[in-house]
């Protein structure tokens, strides 16, 4: 009974009678005749962070070698500080999950207002950034920079090739000159060009 109550405490809040649902997409049916249950964005983030802190405690921290020194003198070993942080994160994650049940409900909106298309575009930019790093490793600085800069201009809404091409080439060369010649940095030469 207590366990069931616990589950309903976490998952089963009835909807607001005003019709403003503070909750977002996914649904969990707990059982026949029970309320439709959904998790808030914050609760989902809390769940992810809770899992992450458990991974830190049970998977990552055991990878730190145990120090031989010196607990008799009051020395705490190298696992102590990360462990303390991970436990703190775990506690805060639980508060994030159940927090909205501890304070009166206000009809809080979903945190992210970004539309799907925009999120996808940001994801594309991030992937492009990683591809850029990989291409610099393979081909060196100049060619990947011109290509990526051109693509980013396009992604950002600039559609005039007469602007994109000269700007991409000019900016890439300017950076090359500044870093390679003035600051005398060894610019990436690329695995393929040695």
């Amino acid at each position: 009974m207590a366990a069931e109550k616990g589950i309903s405490f976490l998952l089963c809040r009835p909807h607001s009678s005003k019709g403003i649902s503070p909750i977002t997409n996914k649904c969990f049916y707990v059982g026949p005749g029970r309320q439709l249950v959904k998790l808030t964005v914050d609760a989902r983030i809390g769940l992810v962070l809770l899992i992450l802190s458990l991974v830190i405690i049970f998977v990552l921290i055991p990878t730190i070698p145990r120090d031989v020194f010196l607990s008799a003198r009051g020395e705490v070993h190298s696992r102590f500080f990360p462990m303390a942080i991970a436990i703190g994160m775990m506690v805060l994650s639980v508060i994030l999950i159940i927090g909205r049940y501890l304070v009166p409900r206000v009809g809080d909106r979903p945190v992210s207002s970004a539309r799907k298309k925009e999120i996808i575009r940001v994801g594309e930019t991030a992937v492009l950034a990683l591809i850029y790093v990989f291409l610099m490793y393979l081909l060196g600085y100049l060619i990947p920079t011109i290509v990526i800069l051109g693509l980013l201009f396009w992604f950002s809404g600039e559609r005039r090739w007469a602007v994109i091409l000269p700007t991409a080439i000019g900016v890439s060369l300017a950076f090359y000159y500044f870093f390679g010649r003035i600051l005398m940095l060894m610019m990436p030469r690329g695995l393929l060009f040695g």
């Binding site: 990360p82 970004a114 940001v122 930019t125 950076f175």
Partner: protein
């Protein structure tokens, strides 16, 4: 008196070093432009410039980023007044009355009022910094590991607790920053932690790639998203033909002085506390100015005090931020954290001993701050409208991809390693996700930067007490900070509960 002599010597030192005053001039003007460009704050500017400071003398490097900080904090008011778009979050309050004045054709008056108020607030704050910080440092010299543990704990709690919408998320951000800071060799035993056999990670994550990723690249991602959401271009309303509408008379300025000094007081007080940077002070200054004004009904309709108060408040934070940074090594804001990064790059450890070991450098930075105020005052008085017009014409579609390449090259430049560029991208994505879900970036970054000293203070304290945590309760200063920490959290949770109760 001692401080005055040191300051005069510092001015002399700056004027014989072309690189230093060149750096001040460049930093302040660049900061002003970056602050004026919506989306590009002084924080982004400092983060992008950090790699280049590696090639400069410590005084030139720190003066340049300090100039960016000051110029950028003022610069945000230009688009707020002219375009109704705040260049920085701190300028969001200025736009309320500033843009109303622009709509009446009085943008020249609003811009002059903004720069004069900023300069007065900033100057007062710098004078307090110059003449009183050394006394704070003398007190801090008496601190041992337990006291530093207490101070850092308090700072992290304040930063985590007040810089976001949610206390829990703020504290989680600080925890995440502390955890990321544990990657690499253990400070005391030298044991490798979370390096997964990757050689580059034995030193931990690089400060510069992390800063550039979290502050600059995440901003690029945000702008990519915004660009898709709304692609409108700004337009500038033409000024009125009446010359009196385009300048602030002495009488008008005198009328604003009480609001300016009151706001300066708030800026000074709040700026000295860790975490409570320039974003909230203008609002406090504005509401105080409105409360004590003879004509509160004019606020929101183009009151000059409504421009003066927030501008004085946000620039008063600039000098005040450096007080905890220089005396305790605790940054009061994200800009101060980045300035701290420049100190660390040059091997300068912040804390009370800096006044003993590097006094000429410290007073050089103070003198640079005063010169930076002069620079942005002159630029603001004579070229603010022109800067506004220029900003309105700049295409974000061109600027942000260039910022992206600057981020990549900045991260690469510090160690000529593509691994650092990858780290920068990773933290850029993390920073973007944190922004989207309203976690606190300042808390994350400042915790990362203070993590090493925090752990060291904790473990040294436990060594001193042979493992007994009671040491934190038996040292009075440490106990005071522990109680302050507990009180702050309790107060924040209680006010949040009360607010939500009232709304429900």
């Amino acid at each position: 008196m001692e401080q005055l002599i040191q300051l005069l010597q510092a001015f002399g030192n700056i004027f014989v070093h072309v690189d230093v005053w060149g750096a001040i001039l460049f930093g302040t003007v660049a900061g002003l432009f970056l602050g004026a460009m919506p989306g590009l704050t002084s924080t982004v500017g400092i983060a992008l410039m950090i790699p280049f400071t590696f090639y400069m003398s410590p005084l030139a490097a720190i003066s340049m980023v300090y100039g960016v900080h000051k110029g950028g904090t003022y610069g945000g008011s230009i688009p707020a007044i002219l375009l109704h778009v705040p260049g920085t979050p701190a300028a969001a309050c200025t736009q309320i009355d500033g843009y109303q004045l622009t709509k009446q054709g009085k943008q020249g008056k609003a811009l002059q009022c903004a720069v004069l108020s900023s300069a007065i607030g900033d100057l007062c704050s710098d004078l307090v910094l110059i003449f009183f910080t050394v006394y704070m440092a003398r007190v801090a010299l008496k601190f041992g590991p337990p006291e530093f543990f207490g101070v850092i704990l308090f700072a992290l709690t304040i930063i985590g607790g007040v810089t976001g919408r949610s206390v829990t998320k703020g504290l989680l951000s600080a925890m995440a920053g502390l955890f990321v800071g544990t990657v690499g060799l253990d400070a005391i035993t030298g044991v490798a932690r979370f390096d997964f056999g990757i050689v580059e990670l034995t030193k931990g994550f690089g400060l510069v790639p992390l800063l550039i990723g979290v502050f600059c690249l995440s901003e690029v991602f945000v702008q990519v998203e915004k660009r898709l959401a709304k692609g409108e271009r700004a337009t500038i309303i033409p000024p009125s033909g009446n010359p009196a509408d385009n300048r602030v008379s002495w009488r008008e300025l005198k009328g604003c002085l009480p609001a300016i000094f009151r706001s300066y007081g708030w800026g000074q007080l709040i700026g000295m506390l860790p975490g409570m940077g320039a974003a909230i002070t203008p609002w406090i200054g504005y509401s105080e100015a409105k409360r004590s004004s003879k004509h509160p009904e004019k606020f929101g309709k183009g009151a000059l005090e409504g421009v003066a108060a927030p501008e004085a408040a946000n620039n008063a934070v600039c000098g005040a931020n450096l007080m905890p940074l220089l005396t305790l090594g605790i940054p009061g804001s994200t800009d101060a954290a980045l300035i701290m990064g420049v100190f660390l790059i040059h091997g300068l450890h912040l804390g009370p001993r800096i006044f003993v070991e590097y006094a000429p450098l410290v007073y050089g930075i103070f003198a640079a701050g005063l010169l930076a105020i002069l620079v942005y005052l002159l630029v603001g008085l004579f070229a603010a409208t022109m800067i506004g017009k220029l900003i309105a014409r700049v295409s974000k579609a061109i600027i942000f991809p260039i910022v992206f390449i600057s981020c990549a090259m900045g991260a690469y430049a510090i160690g000529t390693s593509l691994f650092d560029v990858g780290v920068m991208v990773g933290f850029g994505v993390l920073g973007y996700v944190m922004r989207k879900y309203e976690f606190s970036l300042p808390a994350f970054v400042i915790a990362f930067m203070l993590g090493y000293r925090f752990e060291l203070a904790l473990r040294r304290s436990l060594l001193m007490s042979h493992g007994s945590p009671l040491i934190f309760l038996t040292h009075p200063i440490c106990l005071a900070f522990v109680l302050l920490t507990a009180g702050t959290v309790a107060l924040r949770v209680w006010t949040s509960y009360r607010r939500k109760s009232a709304q429900a």
